[in-house]
Amino acid sequence: MDPLMVRSILAGLIGVFVLAIVIYSIRVFKGPTIPDMVLAVDALSYDLAVLIVVLAILFDTVYLAVAALPLVLWAYILDMYVAKYLEREELGD
């Protein structure tokens, strides 16, 4: 495929993802309850993993793509610990 067209598609993808990241962050700041905020931080983390692969294709380097895989798994640990804390303490909002 044409390199210039691929570059413009990936640049548009980065624009959409940056807009989505900003809106997710607004939910993290506003979030009335704690599970809302954790959910939005999860979505931020998965978006970051997509952006890493996009930047690796765009800059044409192997070096950058290594970080995508372990990054996906760390948000899962945040989920688990916050859920464990909320279930044990029985504290709402």
Binding site: I21, S25, V41, L44, S45, L51, A67, K84, Y85
Partner: protein, 88 residues
């Protein structure tokens, strides 16, 4: 796009602005569990900045410590003590 302002500059501006706002919210928050979640968001924003600055090893270590280990350790500590910070 504005002249002379590439895609990397856009990503850096968004990442550092988010990091500053997350850090400020972490500092002023009285509920400690919320502060832990804000701190995880700050680690993700710095991870984006490190990726754009071509330092994936640094981003890997920062996100692993900031999102995973740090929040697990702090939630363990908070469950031993009080959740809300007292205002004297």
């Amino acid at each position: 796009m504005i002249d002379g302002l590439g895609i990397q500059d856009l990503l850096l501006i968004v990442a550092f602005t988010l990091a500053i706002v997350f850090t400020y919210k972490t500092l002023v928050e009285k509920d400690l569990v919320r502060a832990v979640v804000y701190s995880a968001g700050q680690a993700i924003a710095y991870g984006l900045a490190f990726i754009v600055l071509m330092a994936p090893d640094l981003a890997l270590a920062y996100v692993a410590v900031g999102v995973g280990i740090y929040s697990a350790l702090f939630l363990l500590v908070i469950s031993r003590t009080e959740r809300y910070e007292k205002v004297e």
